[in-house]
C-alpha cells in the first residue's frame, strides 16, 4: 500500500521540538518495505538518489509521525529506499509541552545561585583588599588617659 511522504530539508537542531523546513519540500508516494516498522521505516520511493539526496527530513501523514532521514539507498537509477527514524520530539511536541517536569537546566528559567559546575573557575583566586570603612579610625596621635581613684574632690 502506498502512502504519501513529504520530504524536506531542515537545518534545525536535531533536539529541537520545533523544526524549520527549508523551502523546496516535495510530496512523493512510497511503500513500506516488508521488514521495517513505523519507528524506523524503510520506504520504496520511485525517485533517483540524486533527487532525494538533498532531503534529510520527512513527514508521513498516514503514520502521524515525522522522521529524520537516516539513509538513502539507491536500488536502481530511479528507485531508492529511504530509511528514517522517528523524530519523537517534533512528532509529539504538543503533548510533551503539556507535561510538567523538574528542570535541571534551562535557557530562560534559571537561578545562578544554584551550584553549577559548568562555570569554570581558575585555581588562581582573586584576593582583594577592600577600601577602608568610611567612618572613624584610630588616630596617629593617641589619647592619654589618667585614671585616678577617688575623684577630684578628695
Amino acid at each position: 500500500m502506498s502512502f504519501k511522504c513529504n520530504l524536506y530539508t531542515t537545518l534545525s537542531e536535531r533536539t529541537a521540538l520545533d523544526k524549520t523546513m527549508e523551502p523546496g519540500g516535495i510530496e512523493l508516494e512510497g511503500t513500506l518495505i516488508n521488514s521495517s516498522n513505523i519507528i524506523n521505516p524503510s520506504i520504496h520511493i520511485y525517485r533517483s538518489a540524486e533527487t532525494l539526496a538533498s532531503y534529510n527530513y520527512m513527514v508521513i501523514p498516514n503514520f502521524n509521525r515525522r522522521y529524520f532521514i537516516t539513509d538513502v539507498q539507491a536500488l536502481t537509477a530511479e528507485t531508492c529506499i529511504v530509511s528514517g527514524h522517528v523524530d519523537v520530539l517534533s512528532t509529539y511536541k504538543g503533548a510533551i509541552r503539556e507535561n510538567t517536569a523538574v528542570i535541571a537546566r534551562a535557557e530562560n528559567k534559571w537561578n545562578l545561585y544554584l551550584d553549577d559546575n559548568l562555570i569554570k573557575v581558575s585555581s588562581i583566586p582573586k584576593i582583594l583588599t577592600k577600601q577602608y570603612f568610611d567612618g572613624g579610625y584610630f588616630t596617629k596621635n593617641p589619647g592619654i588617659a589618667l585614671v585616678v581613684v577617688g575623684g577630684n574632690n578628695q
Binding site: 537561578n111 545562578l112 577602608y132 592619654i144 585616678v148
Partner: protein, 626 residues
Amino acid sequence: MLYADFKGYLNYTDTEYHTTILCDNRLYEMMPDDGSVVQLLTAKPEGYDSSAEMTEAIYEALKFAPGTYRSTYDISPDAESDTDFLDWLDVFGFRSDSKVEYEAPINTIIIPIESPGVSQYGIGNLWLPAGGGGSFFNCSTNIPYTGYTYVMAVGGMSCCNWVEYPYEPTHPKHFQWQFAIYPEGYVNRGIIDFGALTSEPGQLYVKRIASVSMECWQYTSGDLIGKWNVSIRLSKATNNITNLAGGPFDGAQLGPIHDTENPSTDEDDNSNKGGNGDGDNSSFPVTIPELPTRDMTSAGGVRIYTLDPSDILTLMSYLNSNAPGDAILKWWQNPIQAILSLHYLPYPLDIPSGATAESVKVLGIDTGVTAFPAKQFQTIHFGKYELKPDSKTYLDYSPYTKVSIYLPGIGIRELNTDDVMNQRIWVVYNCDNITGQFMAFVAVGDKEKDATVKYSFCGQVAAPFPLSQENWGNTFIAGATLAAGALAGGVAAAGKATAAAGEGSFISGAANAEAGKAAGAAIGKQALNIGSSANALSKPTITRSGTVSGTTSLFGVRQPYLIVERPNYLPYQSMAAVKGFPCGMCLKLSDLKGYSVIESVHLSGIPATEGEIEEIETLLKGGVIL
C-alpha cells in the same frame, strides 16, 4: 501540583490616602501553574462612597513570570481634579535582589483614565513614555465603563526587560500595589480591576493565590480614622477578564487543589512525617547595644582625665619630686597607689559636653596638672563598607568566596561570607577608657542603628604608660633611726647633734639623705656600720604602675578593611543557549524556551509507543530545545 494549605496575605496600609499592599513571595509559590488566570474578588457592588468600601471592590488577577520581580502599581488622583477618582496608573518595577529601583519613567507605563461619563475601554489608553521599551497594553475591550463606575483593567503588561533577570528564590520577593485613595468626602465609586498581568508570550506563569486578606488603615493628618479588614475571595477564571467588572462575585472560594497524579500531600496523613513546616522565618533585629548609662566617673569613685604630653611631664615631676614637703605627703599617702592607670588610647577621649579643665588631685593632693575629665565609655563608629557580589552567582557565597575583616586592636577575623555578602557591613566599638578594653561589633544592615549584630569581638587597646614615684620618705625614716641609735649608744653630743639635725630636717622639711649620712659620720665605727645599713635602706623605693606591653595597638592599621578572596571564573554568560543554567524548579515544559535539560519527568498524555516514550524521556534528560 498541590498547594493546599497556604494562607497568603496582603498587608494593606494606608497613609494619607496612599495605600500599599504587600504580597509575600510565597504567594507565587502557592499558585497553580495550570494555565488558569486567577482573580481575587470581593463581592461588593458598586456605589459605595467611602474609600474604605472602595478598597473592598478591588479585583485582582495575577499572571506573571514567577517571582522574579517586585512591581509597584501606583494609582494616584490628580491633585487638581475634584471629579476624577483615578487619573492615571503608574507602573514601575524594581528588582528586589539588587535593592535598586528602576527609576521612573524608564519602566513606567501610564494609563490615563478618562473623565466620568466617557466610555472607557482598555485598548488605546496606554501612554508609554520614552524608554518604556516593549511594553504593551492589551486589555480586553469587553469591560464596560458606564456612568460613574470606573473600570480600569490592565489586561496585559509586558515585563519590559524584567524577564531578562533570573528567578532567584533565595531572595525575598514581594510585589506591591500602591493605591492612592481619594480623600474622605469624595464619592469613591467603582471597581478597580487588575486583570491578568502577563509577560511576553512563552513567559507566562500562572499561579494561584489561595486566600488573601487585607488590613486597612486610613489616616487623616496623621490621625488614625479608620481601620478595617477586607477579605478577598477567589475566583478562577478561564482566560481573560471579560466578565468581572460590575457584578459581585458569587463563586465559592476555591478549596485546596488536589493533584490526582500525586495525591499523597493532601489525602494522606503526613502530619508527622515532615514536610509540613510553616517555617518561622522572621528575624529579630539584634542591634548594636548602646553604652551603659552609668559609669564609674558618674558615681564619683574614679576620675579619668585626658592629658597632653606636657601634663605627663608635670605629673612625673610631681611624683618624682624630692622636695621635703611633697616627699612627706607622698610617704604618708603614697599617691601613686591612687593612680590606677596612665595609658595611651589610640583615639581621642570623649569629653562630656560642658566640662571644663580642672586641677587633678590625687588623694586630695594637687598634682599641678590641669586636665579635662573624660567619659569612661565611648563609642567609635568606624562606618560601613558595602560588599557587593561579583558575579551574582553562587560563586559569590561560601565556600567559594571568603571574606575576612581586619579590626584595629584585634587583628584579622574570618567572616561567614553568607552573612555579609551583598550587605552593608558596619563596625562599631564600644570602649571602656579606664581599662582600654572594648567590644567590637560587626553588624549588617542598611543603617547602623538598625543593623543586626553578626559578630562581636573583645580587645584591649590601652598601651600603659610607665609610671614611677620616688619615695624619699624612707630616707628620712632612716635618718631618724640613726639618730635614735646614736642616742642609745651614749654618744650624747653626737646624738643630740644628729637628733637636732634630724629634728630640724623634719621641721624644716629638708628631706636630705646627706643629713643622715653626716649624722652617721659623727658617731664612730659602730655608727658607721649602722650607717652602712641605713644607706641600703635609704635607696629610693620605685613603685611601678602598669607594664610596657600592649603598645602594639598603636602600631597597627587604624581602620577596618576587608580581605575578599573570590573565585576567578571564566565568562559564562553565553553558556545559556548552549548548556543552560541551573533551574531546579518544577515547571510545565511549555513555560520553557530554548535549551533545557529535564531532571525528572513522568510523561503522560503522549500517544506514542513505549519505545518512543523512552526515547522522549532520554532526549529530555539529555537536553532539548523547547
